[in-house]
Symmetry: C2
Subunit: 238 residues, 2 copies
């Protein structure tokens, strides 16, 4: 038992989603590694090993700040990924062992979830790492089981948004058009919605406030901007 457990490591990974008005995106870090004398390039979720006596929530906040510059983002722990199979790729093991000067066998990672407005400023180049927004329907080759973590995070987003749609407004700019909102519903729930029906339904919601502002510089008819009223939303749910 001691032999098996001695090489266990604990990490945290953050799955941060954003929305550009058309597509759902996830925040990834470019990884440059070396294996068998060859350099390789791929991507990974922002994450790191948990330090000494660090609390898991603190690791999640630290990792996100260090790798992306994002601070004061509500991060929710959503799932632990602990399969021994996570370290099946020797490239990943070598990369962690080199970075941490430790012999690694099994890494349990605690995954966190966040929704941010994509306009929020990311520091793209921190300590030699680069953070980039990548559409979730165009993911490149990812480290470890990070593709699986993102898939589980998307399920989690769908489940939570279906029970509490107000979380979707965390992904939209403060002022948004009904088309942007419909696009978001479509990408989160994976089905096309009738524009006229959706417009009618949403503009009847007491918690969507129509502003006296319209899109500018567009070739089509300028759409009106709306704002989400969290207080009215909470009242409507009682």
């Amino acid at each position: 038992m001691e032999e098996e457990s001695a090489k266990l490591h604990l990490s945290v990974d953050c799955t941060v989603f954003g929305f550009d008005g058309n597509r759902l995106q996830v925040l990834l870090i470019r990884r440059i590694g070396e294996f068998g004398g060859l350099e390789f390039h791929d991507m990974k979720l922002p994450g790191d090993l948990v330090r000494g006596v660090e609390e898991l929530d603190d690791t999640a906040r630290r990792v996100l700040a260090e790798l992306t510059g994002l601070r004061n983002i509500p991060l929710v722990q959503f799932h632990a990924f602990g399969s021994a199979d996570r370290t099946r790729n020797p490239k990943d093991v070598h990369w962690v062992e080199y970075a941490h000067q430790a012999h690694v066998k099994r890494i349990v990672t605690i995954a966190y979830f966040a929704l941010v407005k994509i306009g929020k400023s990311i520091i793209h180049d921190m300590e030699g790492t680069e953070a980039v927004w990548i559409p979730v329907d165009e993911l490149p080759s990812l480290a470890f089981d990070h593709d699986k973590i993102i898939a589980v995070a998307l399920d989690y987003l769908r489940t939570f948004a279906s029970m509490d749609p107000s979380i979707l407004y965390d992904l939209l700019p403060r002022k948004f058009t009904v088309t942007q909102l419909r696009n978001l519903y479509e990408v989160v729930f994976g089905s096309k919605l009738d524009p006229a029906n959706f417009y009618k339904k949403m503009t009847q919601m007491p918690y969507l406030t129509a502003l006296d502002e319209y899109e500018q510089g567009v070739s089509h008819r300028a759409a009106r901007f709306y704002r989400f009223d969290k207080n009215k939303y909470n009242k409507s749910r009682l």
Copy 2:
């Protein structure tokens, strides 16, 4: 880093709730330990260290079967508890080190959640351990942070039951009275409900089927039994 991580261990704990018609109960294991030459008695959640390459979900199923005899119970992972503070009590550390012949510093536990009908047969005496139902409002002294794990599991139960009340019927016998159902709502959500209003509301629900069976051998007026119809419930939610 290697020094810190080398003593990390990974465990799984199961929080299994039952309902006796009046109170919410949690399934606990009696622990007999020794510390400083003195024997001590307390209780803990059913749990164990994860073995070799075992998957977390498999550990959860194994632990529950080995310690309580419960099999084929849907177990849902709900939270990872990884604070270094979990092993602040030397009694707990000594107990794990003795049982597993390993030097233990930090134990990350992945907590699972299950709802069972309390009539389901528990094997109370497995391999020298004893499994017992204990009311959640009368918890004794518990190992590690198991009191905190139970509190988080209760929050999780409340949140999920408020979004999907059908899970509450997993806690009731197949045939139940409206009073039992009201008691369950009251203990889960922590507030008193008006009996007449509740009766009227629930008996109007299309998914509660009135049976031609009544309580027997009761001193008060015999109450009618109802059954929960999952198919009708799912249709009512579309």
